[in-house]
């Protein structure tokens, strides 16, 4: 798992690549926690290069979404969700809980 972050005026982008499993999710959780603790609740997660995600990864996404949406203060938007990741989100019943955008630009521009 690798990630990059980019800060914009109205949101932050976290681009993840590789494998999100119970091991690697811990590093990603720290990234999101830093953003949330800094009061950044408008988040875009670019998942285009994620090859594998287990329910441990989905658990992180849903917990971040809960933090963002709290008090209507923001939202986690998923961008470029690939087939595999979408399949897992679907299996978990998480699809209705995320706004998904095909395009990172669209996602960032929506905040």
């Amino acid at each position: 798992m690798k990630y990059t972050t980019q800060q914009f005026k109205h949101c932050d982008l976290v681009k993840v690549s590789g494998r999100i499993d119970s091991l690697t999710v811990q590093e990603l959780e720290a990234v999101f926690n830093d953003l949330l603790e800094a009061g950044h609740f408008n988040l875009v997660c670019d998942l285009s290069e994620v090859e594998f995600v287990s329910s441990a990864g989905l658990r992180l996404l849903i917990n971040v979404q809960k933090s963002c949406r709290k008090l209507d203060r923001g939202e986690l938007v998923l961008a470029q969700v690939g087939e595999r990741v979408f399949g897992a989100l679907d299996l978990a019943g998480f699809v209705p809980l995320f706004r998904m955008e095909d395009d990172v630009l669209q996602a960032v521009g929506s905040f």
């Binding site: 494998r19 499993d21 119970s22 091991l23 594998f52 287990s54 329910s55 441990a56 989905l58 658990r59 849903i62 917990n63 979404q65 809960k66 949406r69 595999r84 399949g87 897992a88 299996l91 978990a92 019943g93 998480f94 809980l97």
Partner: protein, 142 residues
């Protein structure tokens, strides 16, 4: 056609990628298509997560033994551990519809295993340890 390979891994998260790789290679040997291969990889991952977190959860250390066997119909993955047994029938299904605030972020592992395999079975034995067999069928067009 029948080919079998067994590997043993320490029951820690750092083993997950290697186990996944073993399953992927076996899935290719067994002639599973990419979707089926991914499905059984993910099911095995969830099962291993549970073994690490729950079976060996109480500060126990141990191994996960993973056997992949190509059968005429597809792939059987057998996971063995010597941690705590449990009763899968007592695990309630996850709630997949509640609103975000009430949504439980956990409890998805068994659900994934159920949905991603064509068959699976748990066996618990004080001496042999815990056994989980997961089966993924080769699609007919292959």
């Amino acid at each position: 056609m029948e080919q079998s390979k067994t590997c043993s891994f320490p029951a820690v998260c750092a083993s997950l990628e290697a186990i996944s790789l073993q399953v992927k290679e076996a899935a290719d040997v067994a002639g599973l298509d990419d979707d089926a291969a991914y499905a059984i990889q993910l099911a095995v991952e969830e099962a291993c997560d549970n073994i690490i977190e729950h079976a060996y959860g109480n500060n126990m250390r141990g191994d996960i033994e993973c056997t992949c066997e190509a059968t005429p119909d597809g792939l059987v993955v057998t996971l063995r551990d010597h941690g705590d047994p449990f009763d899968p029938d007592l695990v309630p299904p996850p709630n997949l519809d509640s609103p975000l605030e009430e949504r439980d972020a956990g409890g998805l592992g068994l659900h994934f295993i159920r949905k991603l395999t064509d068959d699976f079975c748990f066996q618990f034995d004080a001496e042999q340890g815990n056994v989980l067999m997961l089966f993924k069928r080769r699609s007919l067009s292959e």
